[in-house]
C-alpha cells in the first residue's frame, strides 16, 4: 500500500493481532460465565472487529458466545441536521438481551455520539444486566458525551481535528490502523 507523508501508522497488522488476542483474554478473565455474555458489533465498521474477537474467543474457550450486529442510524441525534444522508445497515440480534451482559464493539471511539445512539438502539431488544464498550482506537480529548470505553486497543490524542483514523481490514482477519490527514486523503 502506498502511503504518503501525511499518514502515520498507529498499529501494524501484527500488533493489532496481538490486541485482538488480548481482547479475548480480557473477556475470558472478566466473564467467568460466558453464557451471560453477548457480543454486539456496531454497524458498519465495528462488525469486522467483533467477528475477529469472536473467533479469538472461540479459539481460547471453544465456547459459542451470543453474537449480533446493531445499527444506530434510527437513534442518531443529527437526523436532518448534519446534511448527510444516513442509510441504515441491518441490525441482527436473534436473542433477547434481557438480563445479558453486553459488550458493544466499535473500531474507533471519537465524540461518543454513535455509542450513545447505539445504546438507545440496543434497549429495544430487552434490558441488559450491563453494557461494556470495546474499541480498537480511543481518540481521547474529543468526547462530546460522557462515554468511556472499558477495553481499549490503543489511545491517541485527537486534539488535532485535521486528522482522522482509518482501520484497514486485510486478509486473514488482520488489520492495520492509520492516522490520516483529512486534506490529503
Amino acid at each position: 500500500m502506498n502511503h504518503n507523508s501525511d499518514t502515520k501508522e498507529l498499529l501494524s497488522a501484527s500488533r493489532a493481532s496481538l490486541i485482538f488476542k488480548r481482547f479475548a483474554l480480557e473477556l475470558v478473565e472478566n466473564y467467568v460465565d460466558l453464557k451471560e455474555l453477548a457480543i454486539i458489533g456496531l454497524q458498519p465498521r465495528g462488525v469486522a472487529l467483533a467477528e475477529v474477537v469472536m473467533k479469538e474467543l472461540k479459539a481460547i474457550t471453544s465456547h459459542d458466545v451470543l453474537f449480533g450486529t446493531l445499527d444506530n442510524t434510527f437513534y442518531r441525534d443529527d437526523i436532518g441536521r448534519s446534511g448527510e444522508i444516513h442509510i441504515p445497515k441491518p441490525s441482527k440480534i436473534d436473542f433477547s438481551t434481557e438480563g445479558k451482559r453486553i459488550v458493544l464493539i466499535d473500531d474507533v471511539l471519537y465524540t461518543g455520539r454513535s455509542v450513545r445512539s447505539a445504546i438507545d438502539g440496543l434497549m429495544r431488544f430487552g434490558r441488559p444486566q450491563s453494557i461494556e464498550l470495546m474499541v480498537l482506537v480511543d481518540r481521547v480529548f474529543q468526547r462530546e458525551v460522557p462515554i468511556k470505553p472499558d477495553y481499549i486497543g490503543v489511545s491517541i490524542d485527537s486534539r488535532n481535528t485535521e486528522h482522522y483514523v482509518r482501520v484497514n481490514w486485510l486478509d486473514d482477519n488482520k488489520a492495520e490502523v492509520w492516522l490520516k490527514d483529512k486534506e490529503n486523503d
Partner: protein
Amino acid sequence: MTEVKQKHLLGIKGMNANQLETIFQTADNFLELLQSPVKKTPALRDVTIANLFFENSTRTRVSFELAEKRLGADVVNFSSSSSSVKKGETLIDTVNNILSMKVDMVVMRHPAPGACRFLSKHIDAQIINAGDGTHEHPTQALLDAFSMRNHFGGSIEGKKVVIVGDIKHSRVAISNIHALRLLGAEVMVCGPSTLIPKNIESLGVKVNTRIEEALEWADVANMLRIQLERQDARFFPSLREYTRLYGLDKNRLDALNKDLLVMHPGPINRGVEISSDVADSGQSIILQQVENGVAVRMAVLFLLAQGNL
C-alpha cells in the same frame, strides 16, 4: 450507491432505480424494527407532520400516521369533511394556515390530479403525495414493489406483473407501472377496453383484454379495486358481468397450475374483483402488503427528513 436529491415525493415518474433501492434498503431495516418488542425510534422527534386528507382514506391514512408516530414525529390530522374547506377556503390558504403552526412535512391526499405538485411550488414544507386524483399514489407503488421484491428474494427484474381492473381511473396502476418498469419488471395491464387508457403502451406496458391469457403470462397479478365512486359513465354493463369476465376466483387460479402471486392494494370488494377464497389463500400477500406499507412509509419519511430522498 448514487446519491439522489429530492425534497418531495410527488410521484414515481422522474425517480430512478437507485432511489427506489435506497428506500427499499431502509424499509428492510424498518421492517426488522417493526418485528422487535419496541417498535419506535426517536429519529423524527423534532419533526411535525400534517396529514391532510381531502378525500376518504382508511388504510393509507392509518399507515402514514402509524409510520409517523413510530418515528417519533408530532402528528396533526386533518380531513376535509370536518374542516373550513367546506366553508370555501382555498387549498393554499388551508395549507398555509396549517404551516403557520410550524409544520415541517405535509402528507396530502387530494381528488385533483397534480394538487401535490401545485402545493410544492407554493409552500416551503416537504410534500408527500398520498394519492392525487387519477394521477399518482407513489407510496402504494413503493410498497407493492417492495412486497414483490421481498417475495422474490431481493429483485423483480424480469418478473411479469399483470395489473387487472380499472386502469383508467387508477393512480395505483400508473405509479405501479412507473415503479415496476424502473425495477426491470415486465408489465401488462388487463381489463375491459373501456377502462384502459388510450396509448398506455407508451409507458412500456403490454395490453390484453382477456384475463385468462394475461394470468397465464404473469408471475404476479395485482387486482385493482373497481372504483365505484369514479364510475360516472357506465364503463361495463354490470358488476356481475365484470366479475365473470375479470374477477379472480379459485377456479381461475387453479386452472393456471402455477404459483401466481396475488396482490391487491385494498380496500377489497370481496366477490367483485377477487373472491374471498383467493384473497385469503396462501398465494395472496394482501396483508403482507399492509404490513410492508408502514415500513416503506417510515423509510420515505426518514429519508425525506434528512432533506433528501
